[in-house]
Symmetry: C2
Subunit: 160 residues, 2 copies
């Protein structure tokens, strides 16, 4: 394993560890439990899972892996705050999307050679990337890994 | 900037972004506010800040940067759960330790050449590192960056 491969492998291991932790946490909850708030007056667990799904789905075009699978998740889970009475996708629907999106990401990650993590993401122009070469795929991966940890820290506060 | 340098720089940027976010959050709270719980029955903010400080302090020997600065933070902030009435370091003491530990880490990080991130951390033996080359400094950095995000996600839930 050369140096580039090691750098990329550690980053991917960290992402996968977060996904596994989330899978374990959310799959251990019933659909009813998903509708509970993480703390009084705070987001429901289903909102966190839907939010993570929407943000991960948006990584597909951002990393040039293809179009989004669930663009309709943005309105209920990103653009708008959690509202208990609004129509949002059901727990089974959110779970299915979560698994599908992360599966697609996993396949796409596996197709990259290590140095391709240093290529620009699609939200930065060629001209800007010359000046800011760290706006690359790797930066997106690490940022989203942190974003996942951030919301996992919240999700564990719920008392099921 | 060569490839190794870019990989290391992105990882360090992500760490720094987390530290800056934490600095902003905790420095925006009064000492009294630090004593509040993040949610009913959950850890106090000062416990999270002390916990993060203790975990970051333990990175110093783990990354071979030197001895710990605040080993006495383990008992109140890692070994034991938060207890409102137990004697813990005061808010000013915890803030000072937080800044000192992160400052020392920042200096130490700056002294590493990119490929040194791929060297083993001190909790793995030479023999095991041959078999598991990803148990390196970089893995510790990314893991602790996530740990910080995890608790930041909790800290923001408090309503000051």
């Amino acid at each position: 394993m050369n140096h580039e491969e090691r750098f990329a492998a550690v980053a991917l291991n960290t992402w996968r560890a977060g996904i596994e932790r989330a899978d374990k946490l959310f799959s251990g909850l019933t659909d009813d439990q998903l509708l509970q708030q993480i703390a009084p007056g705070k987001n429901r667990l289903i909102y966190l899972l839907g939010h993570l799904t929407a943000v991960h789905d948006a990584m597909l075009p951002l990393l040039a892996f293809g179009p989004r699978l669930y663009p309709e998740f943005d309105a209920p889970f990103i653009t708008n705050p959690d509202k208990e009475r609004s129509a949002t996708p059901s727990s089974p629907e959110v779970r299915r999307a979560w698994n599908e999106v992360n599966g697609k990401l996993s396949e796409s990650f596996a197709s990259l050679r290590p140095k391709q993590w240093l290529e620009k993401h699609t939200a930065v122009s060629d001209a800007d990337f010359v000046k800011e070469p760290l706006r690359n795929r790797l930066a997106v991966l690490l940022s989203r890994t942190n974003h996942l940890a951030y919301h996992l820290g919240q999700a564990v506060l719920s008392n099921k």
